[in-house]
């Protein structure tokens, strides 16, 4: 797997635009419910998904748009889903925390912190039984790593050598609570060894580093050697949800991390001989418009027919 860095940048910019423009929509009161913003974490989703094929599976979280877009969910139906519209990929019934696309291997988000990990392990089990080298990825936050499901998943996946990547995006906060307040050890990766799988710390704002680590872990998984835990050190630029006053952290800390913006980091690499500023600016402008169009599409889409809520409780 050797992805073109320009493609990585493009995908990160798509997510960046999506998150920034959704915040604007929220500020204008156009958005229903909460927004769990992915601003600042773009390199995590994009770096990991760059190591995957369409046929590989991912399981996302409450903070899922980055994963959805990185794994290839079409922008417009995803966006319409966020707004709960009939044109959404789930007909508007999933909403901000739930979107899926089996054709792209996207098995959904979740409103329950930690619940995605066992599900991803189940997908990895399918992959193992099938025997064609697919892998599954569980995305989750450092907060979720304090949940029992994390340990149970590591243990079972290691015991059975499941082709699973456990990707912890350590953005330092779970809602309003700093990780250090709820755990005596700072690194999630260190929890892996005791359960018999490798754990690795990666700079989650460096998309190339993430891609490389994920590629290694995917290879390990595909070749039957079992799961890997990756801890991507990153930062959630926004609050837990838009509107959160962020009293629990300093503005200095925020500035420090924003200085390490994953897009800016990659831009510097690209400008060093791989792309010129004009190209990047053009792409940015295109994506800006693409996202704006998707938001317009969502806003112009009808609300779902309320009675559609009665359907599909059971599969026929």
């Amino acid at each position: 797997m050797n992805p073109d860095p320009l493609d990585l940048w493009r995908r990160m910019m798509l997510i960046r635009q999506c998150e920034a423009q959704l915040n604007d929509a929220f500020a204008k009161n156009l958005f229903p419910g909460y927004i769990h913003s992915y601003l600042g974490q773009e390199a995590c989703a994009v770096g990991v998904c760059a190591a995957l094929e369409d046929s590989d599976w991912i399981v996302s979280t409450h903070r899922g748009r980055g994963h959805y877009l990185a794994k290839g969910m079409a922008l417009k139906p995803m966006m319409a889903e966020m707004f709960g519209r009939a044109t959404g990929i789930c007909g508007g019934r999933g909403g901000e925390m739930h979107a899926a696309d089996p054709t792209k291997g996207i098995l959904g988000g979740n409103g329950i912190v930690g619940a995605g990990m066992p599900i991803a392990a189940g997908a990895a089990l399918s992959a193992q039984v099938e025997g064609k080298g697919r892998v599954a990825v569980a995305f989750f936050g450092e907060g979720a790593s304090n949940n029992g499901s994390f340990a149970e998943t590591m243990n079972a996946a290691a015991a059975w050598s499941l082709p699973l990547l456990m990707v912890c995006e350590n953005n330092l906060y779970a809602e309003m609570t700093p990780f250090a307040d709820t755990s005596a050890a700072p690194d999630i990766a260190a929890r892996a060894t005791g359960y018999g799988l490798p754990g690795e710390i990666v700079d989650g704002n460096d998309v190339l580093a993430v891609t490389e680590a994920a590629t290694r872990a995917v290879e390990r998984a595909r070749s039957g050697k079992g799961p890997t835990l990756l801890e991507l050190k990153t930062y959630r630029w926004g609050g837990h949800f838009e509107g959160d006053p962020k009293a629990y952290r300093s503005r200095e800390e925020e500035v420090e991390w924003m200085d390490r913006c994953p897009l800016r980091c990659l831009r510097e690499v690209l400008l060093d001989g791989r792309a010129d500023a004009a190209t990047l600016d053009t792409i940015e402008a295109e994506l800006t418009e693409e996202v704006a169009a998707a938001i317009r599409f969502a806003l112009d889409s009808p609300e779902p027919e309320p009675s559609s809520a009665l359907a599909k409780v059971f599969a026929a």
Partner: protein
């Protein structure tokens, strides 16, 4: 008299009990430094310090289990499980441990534990934050279950729950958090297991819980204009249920309707219906009805929720049909 919101009434209750009794403490996700994910514990960390007010990891099982162990050994913990939708992660500690410990060990331990939890039903935030599972905990012997519908009740029930020597599941409606009520300051204790008659009436009894209490009252107003007088009963405690107050009413009105935000099959309405039928059958002029959302998961968005949940109009219509 001062005016208080449902949310501040709860904070007042916990603060007063913590002042009164040093063994009361509060544990949960974001309850300390942040003052609660929804502001439901503002000021308590400052007032009582980090020994008694603690932020926990996102570990629902140990949140509940810490409460069990602490309650067995002399504390009176209030532990918060942010949403009742998360009970699937901690029910073992609640139904096998908290509920049964006094019983199994022949009364050697008390279990003065409050599990504070909430539902965001009708707030449009989707299938994992909109559930009301009072029937699950109502099915467990050894648990008490309360669900306040007004600010004053929220305060009085919380204070009583904290003083109770048994495990109490305390269910808040986030959609009621900003509801205001004027009521006296200080000591309010509402005994667990006591229903309130919110409105007297002679023609039909509505048993409504949580969000549905105000709607039932609204429907009652409309119906009153047509000469239909509805009695509205708010059980306040789901278990043990004050069935006597309900029966006394049904024996007068001869008709009953149960209205809930929770689902029908194996739900609160079925329990109330079965009890009324068993104990007041020959007073009934018509079968007990249950008005609830249809039996589906709760989709995202207020549009769906408005369609699915009972409102004053559908309640009034149900009453008319019950009287027809």
């Amino acid at each position: 008299m001062p005016t208080r919101t449902y949310c501040w009434a709860l904070i007042d209750a916990i603060r007063e009990e913590m002042e009164r009794d040093p063994s009361v403490m509060l544990l949960g996700e974001d309850v300390a430094a942040a003052g609660g994910a929804f502001g439901g514990s503002r000021g308590l960390l400052d007032a009582f310090g980090p020994i008694r007010v603690r932020d926990t990891p996102i570990s629902e099982e140990i949140i509940a289990g810490l409460g069990v162990g602490a309650a067995m050994t002399g504390l009176r913990p209030v532990v918060e499980i942010m949403f009742m939708d998360f009970f699937g992660l901690c029910l073992d500690q609640i139904f096998n441990q908290a509920a049964k410990t006094h019983y199994i060990y022949d009364g050697m331990f008390r279990m003065p534990l409050v599990v504070r939890t909430s539902t965001a039903v009708e707030m449009g935030i989707g299938p994992h934050h909109s559930q009301l599972l009072e029937a699950w905990v109502g099915h467990v012997p050894g648990l008490k279950v309360v669900m306040p519908a007004t600010p004053r009740d929220a305060k009085g029930l919380m204070k009583a729950a904290i003083r109770d020597d048994n495990p109490v599941i305390f269910i808040e409606h986030l959609a009621l958090h900003r509801m205001k009520e004027e009521f006296e300051d200080g000591e309010i204790l509402i005994p667990l297991g006591q229903a309130a008659i919110r409105r007297p009436g002679r023609d039909v009894t509505i048993v409504a819980t949580g969000l549905m209490v105000a709607r039932a009252l609204e429907a009652a107003e409309t119906l009153s204009a047509d000469g239909i007088e509805v009695e509205v009963i708010d059980p306040r405690t789901i278990s043990p249920l004050d069935i006597d107050t309900i029966l006394e009413s049904v024996r007068r009105t001869n008709r009953a309707l149960v209205v809930t935000s929770s689902l029908k099959p194996f739900g609160f309405g079925s329990e109330v219906s079965a009890e009324i039928t068993e104990k007041a059958f020959f007073h009934l002029d018509a079968p007990v009805r249950r008005l609830t959302p249809p039996f589906t998961p709760m989709p995202f968005g207020k549009g769906f929720e408005a369609f699915l949940h009972p409102d004053a109009t559908s309640i009034a219509a149900e009453v008319r049909s019950l009287l027809a």
